[in-house]
Amino acid sequence: MPAFRNVSMCGKDCMCLYVCPTGATDTEDSIIDVNKCISGCSACAQACPSGAISIVPESYPPQQPKSPEVIATQRKLAYSKAQQWQAAEAIAATTDNPITKQFATAIAASNLRMAEDILRESGYMLPQSNEARKLLESLLEYEEPGFPKGAVDLLLKKL
């Protein structure tokens, strides 16, 4: 499990530089070198006074199960939010008025964030979940020109 530094939280106190047995934390671009990092070590994360380093897990437990009732009501809302997102995007794409466009873009962004969050809480929390896999598998049968099938293949292979 490699260490990951959140650069925006790093106070440059440099404890991680002192404790790292391999020098993985000492890089010119502030990104911890995953090839040098020793799995299971976590010395830097424990030493960092700013809480800027976390250890990225290699596997995750199955996501929390969702009841079918909750899935149904969450989906209904997500569907509505996605429609509002799309309607607002359509306004933003067609108006000539810069303020209307700005306002529609904000409404669109707001509704997309809501749709994403509500959908996450309807069974799509983890990219590694069965639900995500089933959706990806169904997309294997999706035949449309321009569809990035390679992306689906990559995800089914790697996740």
Partner: protein, 215 residues
């Protein structure tokens, strides 16, 4: 018993759970966003909940695949999973989900016409009907994760509704001399020159509250 709504963030003060509005001190502030008492307005009693859905939502409770989900939903699922991959530092996977999200975003078309009033009808329906039924189910199933998402998005939706009304009345004046921000986590919209230190809805620090620029 009356209710008063904060026109800044949509928080509702309900007299039935405390003092009468007029008896609250003049320096009463919105517990969510800190707006003064004068920023509240009375909520008109909404008519009985008989409004019908502006959308055909009946086909959307089935199994998930590209025939039962709309393009917009698939796009939102994939953009959200892309963020999940980003958090896990799975960067090729993140990019792959984003590609699928982009593809379906381009495919997505709104069902109805694309005017602010249509969005208003949908958010009205969400706030009158959809949130109540979803909240009930989340509670009866003790699903606190779902409940969290509902609490956040109900507040963000209330804000959307308030702003759609104001834009309808004030037009460009609403944004002419000020800025508009959207919380990248919960979707809360904030109008003002500088965003709050933390999002009043989801409490994320302001680095995640993003300005939507003009033009």
């Amino acid at each position: 018993m009356k209710k008063y709504i904060c026109t800044i963030c949509g928080y509702v003060y309900d007299e039935s759970s405390g003092a009468k509005w007029d008896e609250l001190p003049n320096d009463y502030k919105c517990p969510i966003c800190g707006a003064p008492k004068s920023a509240f307005k009375q909520v008109e009693e909404s008519p009985a909940k008989t409004i019908s859905s502006p959308l055909d939502t009946e086909n959307h409770n089935g199994i998930d695949n590209f025939t039962t989900l709309t393009a917009g939903e698939i796009s939102a699922i994939c953009s959200s999973l892309a963020k999940g991959c980003d958090k896990q530092r799975l960067l090729p996977e993140r990019d792959a989900f984003n590609k699928i999200a982009e593809y379906f975003k381009a495919k997505a078309k709104p069902e109805n016409s694309k005017a602010f009033q249509d969005i208003k009808k949908m958010v009205d329906y969400d706030l009158e009907i959809n949130f109540a039924s979803a909240t009930e189910k989340a509670k009866s199933n003790s699903d606190r994760g779902a409940l969290r998402s509902l609490v956040w998005s109900e507040k963000a939706s209330t804000m959307c509704r308030v702003l759609l009304d104001r834009f309808n009345k004030e037009g460009e004046g609403l944004l002419k001399n000020t800025k508009i921000y959207v919380c990248d986590i919960c979707g809360f919209i904030y109008i003002g020159d500088t965003p709050p230190e933390i999002c009043p809805v989801c409490k994320v620090p302001k680095s995640k509250i993003l300005e939507v620029e003009r033009g």
